[in-house]
Every structure is written in C-alpha cells, then in structure tokens.
C-alpha cells in the first residue's frame, strides 16, 4: 500500500513537471508555465533596468580585438581594425539586441511561421513558398558567395550572430522563445538572403495584374484608360531632365497584349497596403543657412516592435559610417559617413508579372512554350506545423518562375495556372552596394555602389560634403512595351517574356539640378522625354507636391526646418477636395450631429494634428465615399482593383455625371453631388457610433487609433500611439504604417551633424527600458542627436557600457 502511494505521488510529480515544462494549446496557446514563470531562469530574467553591464567575450575566428561602446540610447559604436571583424561585430551586437526578431522575420520570409505558431500560419507559409521566397534567397546567396567582398560580409556577419547564439543559456533567451517554447537555431547566410527578399516582397507586391485583367474584361479598354491611367498628370516627376536623356534606348517589337478570356476567379494574395512608401530629399548648400547640403529620409513601413531598423555606428580603417541597418543583414541601409549621406524611397515600378501557363496534363510535368512541351521542375516544400502533421506542398516551376495558384491554393479550379515572374528571383548582390556606399567619399563612389544594385528598385537620394546632391532611381528594370505588365500575360509565347533590361547608365538620375534640391515621395519618376515606358500600380499624388512646394519656398534652411517638414501634417488632399464637398451640402437644412460636423469641417485648417476634430470628420467622410463611388468594383467572386483617391476626387470635379457615381443598389440616378451628400451622412453616423463606443472626446489621434504592434500581435508587448499625420500626408502616419525611421543629416565641412529617431528602441526585449524609449521620442516629434566620432578614444566618457570582443585562443 505504501509503495502504491509512493508510486502515485511520484507519478503525479513527474506528470506535473512534464506538463509545466511544455507548451500546450487548449483553444488558446499556453506557454511552458513552470519554465516560463521560474524566477531563476524564466521570463523574470528578461526584466532589466537602464543600467547595462560591460562585458568581455571571446569569439572564435575573430582577427583582432573589437571594442563596442553603447551610448545613452543603446546605439552601439563599433571600432574594429578590419572589415571582417567589423561585420562579425555587427552580427554579434545586432543578435544580442534583436535575435528573436531576426530569426522570426527570416522564418516569415521563408514560410516557416507554422512551426512556431501552428496551423493558423499555414496559408501565409504556403504563400511565401509558392512565391519562391526560398528560391530567390538561394539565388541571391549564390551570387553573394561568388563575390569575395560580399562573401566576407555575410560570412562574418553570420559568424558574429552564431557566436552570440552559442553563448546563450535558457535564462538569457529572448522572452518570445520562452513564451512560445522554442529555441534559436544557427544563423546562416541564407537567412540574410531571406531577410533582403522579405523587404523586396514588401516593396514589390502592390501589383494587381489579376484584378486589372478582370477589370479590363468587365469594363473595356476605354474605362480602364480613364480609371487606371499610366500617370495621373499631377506634380513634378522625381527627375525632370527634359531633353537631356542623351542615350540610344533599347527598343523591342511591340506585341499585342494577350489577355485570358475568362475571369480569373482566384483569391488574390494579401497586398502591401498603399501606405507603404517613403520620403527623401536633399537640399543644396545654396538653400541652407550653413551653406552645407542637408539630406533627409523617412521610409514608411508597417510600424512593428521590435522595429524593422537598428541603428549602428561602424568604424574600421577606411570606413566610418552610421545609420539604420536591417537586423539580419550586414552594413547600413540608410545613413551617412564622414563625406556623404544617402537614403531610400520605394521606386514603385512594376517588377512583378503573371504568365498564364498551359500544362499538357494533370501531372504538370510539361507546359506549352512556343508550340513545344517543355519540362517543369517540381519542388516539394516541407512545412512543419506546430501541433499538427508535416504539410507537404508541391510547387511547379517554369522558366518564368513558380506557378503560385492551383486548385489546392486560392484557385477555384484547375484552369487558372499563373507563373510568377519577379525581379527578386534574379541573381543580385545588394549587400555589395551597401558595403561600397558605406565607404563612398563622393558622387563617383555613390554611382559605383549603385551599379551593383538590382532589387527592390529604390530612389536613392545623395548629398556630399563637397556640395553635390543627386537622385538615382536604381534597380533592374525590364524594357517594357506599352501596357505590358498591367495585365496577365500569355505564358505560352516567349515573345511575351521580359526581353531586355534597361542598362544601368540609362536609368532615371540627375545631379545638382538648378532648383537647388532633389526629392522623391513615390511619385512618377521621370519627365515625358524619358524614352522608356514606365508603369506601376500606384503613384503617390500628394506628399511629393507638398514637399516640393515647401522646399521651393524655403531658403536659409536649417536642420530644424527639415525636421518640421518630416513632421508636416498638412492634408493637401483635404485642402483640394473639402471645399468642393462642403459646397454640395445644404448647410441650412443640417441639424444636430450633422451641423456640428459641418461646422467643424468648415473651421478646419487642413492640418491632421493630434487634437484635430476636422481631420477625423474628413477621414470618416472619405472612408464612406470611396466604397459608394466604386460599388461596381465590389464583387465577392471576382477580384477587382480600386481607382486611386486622387483620381476619384478628380473625376468628381471634372465628370460629376460619370456613370460610376450612380449607386447600383438604388433605383434613382446619383451623380457626384448625391454621392457626396450620402457619404457625408454615413461619415457623420460613423463618427457618432465611434463616440458612443469609445466614450471619449473626438480627436484625430484617438479616431485613428494607431498602434505599434509586437510582431506576434501580442497586445501586452504593443503600444498605442497618439500621433498626427496620415497616409498621403508628409508625416505619413496611419493606423499601422508610417515613418519607420526619420533621419536628418547636415553635411558640414567641419563635421557631420546628424539626427534620427524611429518608433521603437534599440533593444528588442519588452523587458528593457530601451524597448520603447525611441518610440516615445518619435511620438512627440523629437530626434536624437547622434554621437558620431571617428576615434575610439573620443568615445570614452560618452558610453554607458563597453562590450569587448577578443579573438578566442585556439
């Protein structure tokens, strides 16, 4: 009996330990509670104060000693004696602060989230695999490893990350690993490749070829040309070099676009929202108070925690560079050195096409190409799913690229097979661009660096201490025939394939324009005399005009003036549309909430400040208006594109009787006027509903309800943000997207002065005061003045801690 009791007690104890040592899912996921709550090793060990310990670590394979000083906002200042150690140290220190994020983002890139969170992520993972993210990353790693400099960059970065991973015990793991019950695996060069492709996907997937194909079939060419013009004819192009494109362009025989006959009834992939964009500009010394050029950059991305950016200062013989890096990739992406500064915005250009494939039979072993059956290549993707069996997905590759849709994935039948042609599948060596840019000393160096850059296409702004400013829209662009790339292409004829690429020296670029500044905000890139056909799903219509207006007016410019421009909340869209909208309302007949809304809108100064009520009413109105206008484009079965807001407003002014303004669901015939009146009523109702639900005063920031979400959408690690601006405004902060990095660099001959901030913090640990300290500054519109000294000795006294890396003795 006693033995039985003992056995039972022992069994309970061991079962209890087993249960509490593992994660479970009973409807909602449960962390390994015993392990997680243990104050000796669990989450408590992730709780930190602002004090940071100095450390000395040995790293195998390091050539020499590296010293890293943390400054007061935890920016690491790395001083190495050679480039290899510099990249190893960057890998080490980035991993020390951002390891979980680095691995999670590369898991996301490669379609491996299911193994961390379970079945809910399976469709996401399959999408990544079927778009060929792994294929793209492998191709790019092959080209990186073929170049000795690029190879040294990624090899040493990987070495540094792995040195950190190997030093970790359970109690030092980032909290997310403890919460989800898994552990980091070794870093590889492929992961750096995946991360860069993840950026490329974010910036290239606004395309809507499938939707446009349906729209063309439904509405005809005339309507498509009216609603989706190649350019909306608004504002200045990024580069106006009229009459000076002095080269002989590559030309191609025109091919009539061959659009499939039936509607494409597939569920389109999730798109990058149009609020992904960016601003950058550089003003010449002739317009600044100091006489030195000033360069600014703010890329607009989804605002997540840990932030997409990590600020680093990297110093070694021949290089002294600082700025924003992407955790997971070596070098600095947007930054400055002793001589130059550069920054990036997305070039928008269409670099994704879909080719309709005809397979010989169900086996999909062969496909038709120029009258012949060509063999396909099949890749079996193995997706591990937490708490479920392994999922195998077969992806068929053609010479165009992977076939994304079939009956098992987003397609309703086996008729629609589309291969995905994407520039990011091509060999590329972007890291080399950044290695060279980080070391460039003048315009020639900047141009040389960009010659290695393929994708995702970016508007690279440049300024130099010697006074030069420049803009170059760099990427690898297929030479397009008119309308090519807007719709699905016939994949059975190679004449429809991308035939040639625009040579690098024929890309859109210029230097030192007479207006005294260069700028880009995702608008149309070139003047009408540029000889190549250019096409994109979305050109920005408002931010670019506001920026150029302000820059034209300003003289004796100071860095503060340009910070104010980055934070500018002027709503150009509202200023161009609201007076007309209001003129259609009969104010004498309004009462109650409608009258209050009318008065608030009438008094509004068009600035989307935190406190503004008018901004909230306007936004609610616009949100009600566009679905009413484009009700013809709401089809539950057939995916269709939506015309831009700029074009909607333009048509309301110029063609108020257009058929599209008639709401199909109502018997009477509406024009722009009735749409405006109806949407006003709906907008006011939406605001009243919001007031009732939220029980607080209406302000723009409260109505916007912006958040910086933790990458796991874990509310406890996320923050609400009270900030002005909106998409289409220079301060492009919408509910979830916005300026992910604000940088201002004054390139004075006596030394660089630079400021920057991003909505997050240098530490990825939610238990660190450095997790959200920069978010608080960012929200208030403040900047950090960067410490940027070229000699390690001069950092002494400015540091809060020192990390010393030594070569490990053999």
């Amino acid at each position: 009996m006693k033995l039985v009791k003992l056995a039972i007690s022992l069994l309970i104890t061991t079962s209890l330990i087993y249960f509490l040592n593992n994660s479970w899912n009973f409807g909602s996921p449960i962390p390994p509670l015993g392990k997680f709550l243990d104050p000796f090793h669990g989450f408590w060990k992730n709780a930190q104060t602002a004090a940071v310990d100095s450390e000395t670590i040995s790293i195998p394979g390091l050539k020499d000693k590296v010293t890293i000083y943390y400054d007061s906002v935890l920016v690491p200042h790395i001083y190495a004696t050679n480039d290899e150690d510099l990249y190893a140290a960057q890998g080490y220190i980035t991993a020390k602060n951002r390891l979980w994020q680095m691995e999670f983002q590369t898991h996301a890139a490669g379609g491996r989230i299911s193994e961390v969170v379970g079945k809910a992520a399976l469709d996401f993972d399959r999408t990544q695999r079927r778009l060929g993210m792994g294929y793209a990353a492998e191709t790019s790693v092959k080209s990186m490893e073929a170049n000795p400099i690029a190879k040294a960059m990624v090899d040493n970065y990987t070495k540094g990350v792995n040195a950190y991973i190997q030093s970790l015990s359970y109690s030092e793991l980032p909290i997310e690993y403890k919460l989800l019950g898994y552990a980091p695996e070794p870093w590889t060069n492929l992961k750096s490749g995946l991360l860069l492709k993840y950026m490329a996907k974010t910036l290239n997937t606004g395309e809507r070829d499938l939707e446009m194909t349906n729209a063309l079939k439904l509405f005809g060419k005339e309507t498509i040309d009216l609603l989706f013009p190649d350019q909306e004819g608004v504002g200045d192009p990024i580069v106006d070099n009229t009459g000076n494109w002095k080269f002989k362009p590559t030309t191609l025989d025109s091919v009539p676009p061959s659009v499939p006959n039936e509607f494409v009834n597939i569920k389109p992939l999730e798109k990058s929202p149009p609020d992904i964009g960016s601003n950058n500009w550089a003003v010449s010394g002739t317009k600044t108070k100091s006489g030195a050029p000033i360069l600014c950059n703010d890329p607009h991305l989804e605002l997540n925690l840990p932030s997409i950016w990590y600020v680093v200062h990297m110093n070694a013989p021949g290089v002294n560079v600082m700025g924003a890096s992407l955790p997971g990739s070596p070098a600095i992406i947007s930054g400055f050195n002793d001589s130059i500064a550069w920054g990036v915005t997305n070039a928008q250009r269409d670099l994704v096409d879909w080719f309709k494939i005809e397979f010989k039979d169900k086996s999909k072993n062969e496909y038709l190409s120029d009258g012949q059956w060509k063999p396909t290549r099949k890749v079996i993707e193995t997706i591990n799913v937490k708490g479920a069996p392994v999922y195998y997905d077969t992806v068929v590759y053609t010479h165009h690229g992977p076939v994304v849709f079939d009956q098992s994935f987003h397609g309703e039948n086996e008729k629609n097979h589309f291969a995905h042609r994407w520039i990011a599948h091509d060999p590329s060596e972007e890291v080399l661009t950044f290695h060279k840019m980080n070391r460039a000393t003048n315009h020639t160096g900047y141009m040389d660096a960009l010659d290695h850059y393929t994708s995702p296409a970016q508007n690279f702004v440049f300024a130099c201490v010697n006074g030069d400013i420049a803009m170059r829209i760099q990427g690898k662009y297929p030479v397009r025939r008119k309308n090519e790339g807007k719709f699905i292409l016939d994949g059975t004829k190679t004449s429809n394939d991308w035939q040639a690429f625009i040579p690098n020296d024929q890309n859109v670029m210029y230097k030192n324009p007479s207006r005294g500044f260069v700028s880009s905000a995702n608008q149309y890139p070139a003047d009408a005399s540029y000889p190549y056909y250019i096409q994109a799903s979305n050109w920005e219509a408002y931010r670019n005009r506001r920026i150029n207006t302000v820059l034209t007016q300003l003289n004796q410019i100071t860095p503060t003036d340009l910070m104010n421009l980055q934070l500018d909340n002027f709503n150009l869209k509202a200023s161009e549309s609201l007076p007309i909208f209001l003129s259609y309302l009969d104010s004498t007949s309004l009462k109650g909430a409608a009258l209050e809304a009318y008065n608030k809108l009438k008094q509004w100064d068009y600035f989307n400040t935190i406190e503004s009520e008018g901004a909230a009413y306007y936004e609610a109105w616009i949100r009600s208006l566009t679905p009413l206008v484009w009700d013809e484009f709401d089809d539950p079965k057939t995916a269709l594109p939506r015309p831009s807001t700029f074009l909607t407003i333009k048509l309301m002014k110029e063609k108020p009787e257009l058929d599209f303004f008639d709401v199909k669901a109502t018997p009477e015939k509406e024009t722009a006027k009735e749409i405006i009146q109806k949407s006003f009523v709906e907008g006011v109702a939406a605001i009243e509903k919001w007031k009732a639900e939220n029980k607080k005063d209406l302000t723009w920031a409260a109505y916007k309800g912006a958040v910086a979400n933790h990458l796991l959408r874990q509310k406890a690690f996320s923050y609400n943000i009270e900030h002005g601006g909106n998409s289409s405004i220079v301060n492009a902060h919408s509910k979830t997207h916005g300026p992910s990095w604000r940088m201002v660099v004054s390139l004075e001959k006596s030394g660089i002065n630079a400021w920057g901030v991003y909505p997050g913090g240098q530490s990825g640990n939610p238990g660190s005061p450095y997790y959200n300290n920069l978010l608080q500054l960012w929200t208030k519109g403040k900047y950090v003045k960067f410490t940027f000294v070229s000699e390690a000795e001069k950092m002494k006294g400015k540091e809060i801690a020192t990390i010393t890396l030594n070569p490990a003795s053999k």
Binding site: K2, L3, K5, L6, S9, L10, I12, T13, L16, I17, L20, N21, L33, G34, K35, L37, D38, P39, F40, H41, G42, F43, W44, K45, N46, A47, Q48, T49, Y170, I175, L179, Q714, K715, A716, F717, P766, G767, S768, P769
Partner: protein, 108 residues
C-alpha cells in the same frame, strides 16, 4: 521544530539547486529534504508547497522591485492569473508533490 527545519532546508536546497539546474530541480530539492528531515506525508506536502512558493514569489518580488515592474505588468496581461499568484501555485504544487514523494519514500 521539525516543521521549521524542513521549511528552511527546502528553501536553501532548492535555491542552491536552481543556481545550477533547471526549474524542475525544485522537486528534487523538496523531495530530498522531506526524505531526510521531513514530516509525515500531508504535513510534508504543505511545508514543501509553502517553502517553494515562498522561494519563488520572494525571488520574483525582488526582481520586480529592482526592475520597477517593467515586465511584470506586461506578463500579467498575458496570463490568465496574476503572475505572482500563478507562480506561487505552480511552484508550490511541484514543491509539495516533491516533498510528499520524499516523505512517502521514507515511510516505506
């Protein structure tokens, strides 16, 4: 008196074990103490439960104080129960059953 001995010894032994071993070493500590200086079955369970709960919650309170509750509030939003309560319960159960096993092994 034996109660106090077992209580103190469990805290000290579990503390030392946790410096080198994972969290489940609590059970080993509580079991060993109960085996050598423990009380009878149910009393040992209670003493083991309370000792480990006190050790865990005490350590956590110390960390919470010295880090200005920076993570405690966030984790409390994640868990169905307050983290101190939950860890007292979990640590306590493991310590209690460990001690019970030790006491039963001795009585065998």
């Amino acid at each position: 008196m034996k109660l106090a001995y077992q209580f103190m010894a469990t805290i000290v032994v579990c503390f030392l074990l946790e410096l080198f071993l994972p969290w489940w070493s609590l059970a080993i500590g509580a079991c060993a103490v109960a085996y050598f200086i423990g009380n009878k079955g149910f009393v040992s369970f209670l003493v083991g439960f309370i000792a480990v709960a006190v050790l865990w919650v005490g350590m956590a309170l110390y960390i919470d104080q010295s880090t200005h509750s920076i993570l405690t509030e966030k984790v409390n939003r994640l868990l169905p129960l307050n983290s101190f309560l939950l860890m007292g319960l979990i640590g306590g159960l493991v310590g209690g059953f460990g001690a019970l096993t030790g006491a039963l092994a001795k009585a065998k």
